[in-house]
């Protein structure tokens, strides 16, 4: 479709762009504005469970009364209560630790995939993608039977005589980290593999010819060149992990506080919609930091490449 100067052509192009843009503004962008607004509201035992409500009929006066009734008390609560501070820090710590583990586990895997024969590569990519599309809930649930005290892992370790009594893994931080690593592994491996597969194999070979050991060639040549894929993959894991709900809920103990879980219980158990909204805003703020940082790094890399 080259640009079509006729009015019909212009209309067509406007529709192609406009329809998805309109949908996403309406159902992705506007909802954030609503969340922001409700995070400034006060919970109420009413339908809907927050106040103030905008009185459209009252015109300018109604609008002013509405704006005046908004305040920052939910944010004051988030800042003042140790529970929410801990939840925010715990979320960042879990997401950060799991991202680091994923980088360590996923890099050798992505590299091995990139070194496989072209035929094998197609198969391996499919093998990594299938679990990625398989129900998240079910994949996390599957770990309960493995990690619980009388579960398969403990049975195997006991039988091998490696441990004297069952390890507590389920309902502990270790359980959450295992779940996060497991569920997000494809998110890290696939973008990293995509970059590694395009690397010129002559480069690490040249390093080896010049006397570098294989480990050294990998660390000084391959890894720096793969950095865009690694940072993209780490970001793809980190962002949703900060807001993760299912994994801490099923594999973490009742005391595992992550923001996604706090938001969930404020909304469903306490019916405090304004506070849940404030938690959502906080989560977005925490996520935006790494994204901006990443874009800065990316731009510098692009500039260096030029």
């Amino acid at each position: 479709m080259r640009s079509d100067p006729t009015p019909a052509g212009r209309l067509g192009r406007a529709l192609v762009r406009g329809l998805p843009a309109l949908w996403l503004v309406l159902f992705f962008l506007v909802p954030f504005a609503v969340v922001l607004k409700i995070s400034l509201s006060t919970p109420a035992t009413a339908q809907p469970p927050y106040r103030p409500l905008l009185d459209w009929g009252a015109g300018w006066e109604g609008w002013r009364a509405f704006v005046e009734a908004l305040d920052l008390q939910n944010y004051a609560m988030l800042a003042g209560d140790a529970l929410y501070r801990d939840a925010a820090l715990t979320s960042l710590a879990y997401a950060g630790a799991a991202t680091a583990i994923l980088a360590l586990v996923g890099t050798p895997m992505a590299w091995a995939m990139a070194r496989a024969t072209p035929r094998m590569q197609g198969l391996l990519v499919a093998l990594v993608i299938v679990p990625f599309w398989t129900s998240f809930l079910i994949r996390v649930y599957a770990w309960i039977a493995i990690l619980k005290p009388e579960g398969l892992l403990n049975m195997a370790l006991l039988r091998l005589g490696l441990i004297g009594e069952p390890l507590a893994i389920l309902d502990t931080p270790a359980g959450v980290l295992i779940g996060l690593t497991y569920a997000y592994l494809p998110f890290l491996v696939l973008p990293l593999y995509a970059v590694m597969a395009r690397l010129d194999p002559a480069l690490p070979e040249a390093a080896a010819d010049l006397g570098a050991s294989r480990a050294r060639a990998f660390l000084t040549v391959t890894l720096p060149l793969s950095l865009p894929g690694l940072t993209a993959g780490m970001l793809l894991c980190f962002i949703p992990m900060v807001g993760e709900f299912i994994i801490p809920d099923l594999l973490g103990g009742s005391d595992t506080l992550m923001l996604g879980r706090v938001l969930w219980s404020e909304f469903f158990s306490n019916r405090d919609w304004p506070l849940a909204s404030a938690v959502a805003v906080l989560m977005l703020v925490l996520i935006v930091g790494p994204v901006v940082l990443f874009r800065g790094v990316r731009e510098r890399q692009d500039a260096a490449a030029r």
């Binding site: 843009a21 996403l24 909802p31 969340v35 586990v105 679990p131 079910i138 039977a145 619980k148 989560m283």
Partner: protein
Amino acid sequence: MSPLNRIALGLGLAFLYGPILVLVAYSFNASRLVTVWGGFSTRWYGVLLADDALIASALVSLKVASASAAVATVLGTLAALALDRHGRFAGRAAFTGLVLAPMVMPEVVTGLSLLLLFVGIGLERGLASIVIAHATFAAGFVAVVVGARLKGLDRALEEAAADLGAPSWRVFSTITLPLIAPSLAAGFLLAFTLSLDDLVIASFVSGPGATTLPMRLYSQVRLGVNPEINAASTLLVAGVTALVLAASWLTGRGDRTA
């Protein structure tokens, strides 16, 4: 591949597939205890088929998945066309962000924000609200799949048709669309499985009478491991795997005919 690479791959794949295989194996366990093997049995599949509430929720999920995947395919394809064909239009960066951001947004945020919107505009919560929510977050995935295909397309075919006097809509419907059709089908299937899998967003935006399969499974999973869930999960995993294989076969076939 060096032995070290083989080990990395073997461990990685065992890690990815082990838990799923354990789950599938124990769905055929005669014993009610999840960790004790009581012999091979399909009794839990019988229990499953007699569970009317579970079947009803599966039907809800299938309806929602079909409708939301259809909408997501249209939106995602249009977005991919705009990104691939419209060059540097005003607001391109914002448009790209808008299409891709829903893919990484934490689900609790997407779910909560859409629910608040629906309450605000007075949309009744039920099937329709879940369809809208799923279409919104799946559209980006469709755009990525279709975009990859558009990028690999030989432009000369479209230019030849245009040079022969075909108007742009005709070039699109007779040349472009048939060539990208496999990726549309793949995108549809992926959007379908995303919808079928989603627990968090559906929990926020659903209303009475619209309980999806993951919502139903989750309410049982919270009570602990039980073999009936293993059986249901096995069927779901089998279904999703079949859809993914179909999708990757479609994309692969498209690549070869191009």
